[in-house]
Amino acid sequence: MSRRPFVRPVSRTRWYFRHPRYMRYMSREVTCVFIGAFALLLLCAVERLSEGQAAYESFLVAITGPWSTLGLSIVWIFAVHNAISWFNVTPKALPVQIGEGFLPGRFIVAAHYAAWILISLAVLLFAGVL
């Protein structure tokens, strides 16, 4: 008797609609587009800064306005979503064994949030905002 296994087709473009967990994953992955766009904006800022004070100030004026605020708010929301989704899975990647047991994951997650807050405060302090 000859074998004739049947291979079920997989959609390369719509597979993530099959289950909510795949949509969750895609919502995390798509954040890279917005964070990448913000990284490009930062690069532009650095480039204009290297051209002098006048160039940098005109750049600041160019990115000020309701549409910029809206765009940056969207980027911020995606950046926060990215950070939270990755912080929540860090215990999987970085388990801390203590004797015969493991440190509960919530402590590892909390350490990341604490570092996030501290570094953000340090940056705001350095930038003269605080």
Binding site: R21, Y22, A93
Partner: protein
């Protein structure tokens, strides 16, 4: 004993007759405490003896009876009928070719499992007279949860990376490699790294995490794969940045 009629839609495929699989509906008198596997057994015994599926232990140990139940990879011996409402749709495990009805072709998984050498490779060969290779409870706990894998392949059925890139070694094989790499009695990590620290190995994983969500033994393959990534990255830094370590 309470009994009720349960409706199952089972994917059928006879390679000698069918061009492609199709659903067949069964109405089965089931007892309250039954699982999906019991309902399939009732179909085979009393309604349709031509139905094919794999099973063995009926206690979530052998890993044979993995199926898609209402679109979710589950062990059919672990899926209670009372937890489902309406028609229960039963299909072969996703991402594997269908051999016949609910039986899939597992050759690809078995081959990948062999490639990662999922067994102890002693780092030092000591004479039998010197006694066994001992291990402390702390050393055991380091890998114990990863050793609970029953090779049921549910993680492969849940993994979209495996669906899109069949060359991917996949969650269970890499997890088992990691289990032995973490074992204090093992010395085979370098051999396994050549297979798992590759593009078709752990770097194909994009951390969807579905493997850990469906694992019936709480093995957490997604965690194992991320740990392999961290360890492999540290290997790279050691090799390229520390003097005297270049290969």
């Amino acid at each position: 004993m309470n009994e009720r009629m349960v409706h199952l839609e089972v994917l059928r495929y006879d390679p000698q007759v069918d061009g492609e699989p199709h659903f067949q509906r069964y109405e089965v008198p089931c007892k309250e405490e039954w699982v999906v596997l019991d309902a399939l057994n009732a179909i085979k015994e009393s309604i349709d003896p031509t139905l094919n599926y794999r099973w063995s232990c009926h206690m979530a140990v052998c890993g044979s009876c993995g199926m898609m139940i209402n679109g979710e990879p589950r062990l059919s011996c672990h899926a209670f009928l009372r937890d489902f409402e309406g028609v229960i749709r039963v299909e072969p495990l996703a991402n594997f070719p269908i051999e016949r009805d609910l039986v899939t072709v597992a050759d690809d998984f078995i081959d990948k499992l062999k490639r990662v050498k999922p067994y102890l490779i002693p780092g030092e060969n000591k004479p039998i007279a010197e006694g066994e290779y001992t291990q402390t409870p702390a050393q055991l706990m380091k890998y114990r949860h990863f050793s609970m894998c029953i090779n049921c392949m549910l993680c492969y059925a849940a993994c979209p990376q495996y669906a899109l890139q069949p060359l991917f070694l996949g969650p269970a094989a890499i997890t088992l490699a990691h289990r032995y790499n973490l074992d204090s009695r093992d010395g085979g990590r370098e051999e396994r790294q050549q297979v798992i620290a590759t593009n078709e190995g752990v770097w194909e994983c994009s951390f969807v995490g579905a493997c850990s969500e469906v694992c019936p033994k709480a093995v957490d393959p997604a965690g194992a794969l991320q740990q392999v990534k961290v360890a492999s990255t540290l290997d790279w830094f050691r090799e390229h940045l520390l003097p005297g370590n270049a290969k």
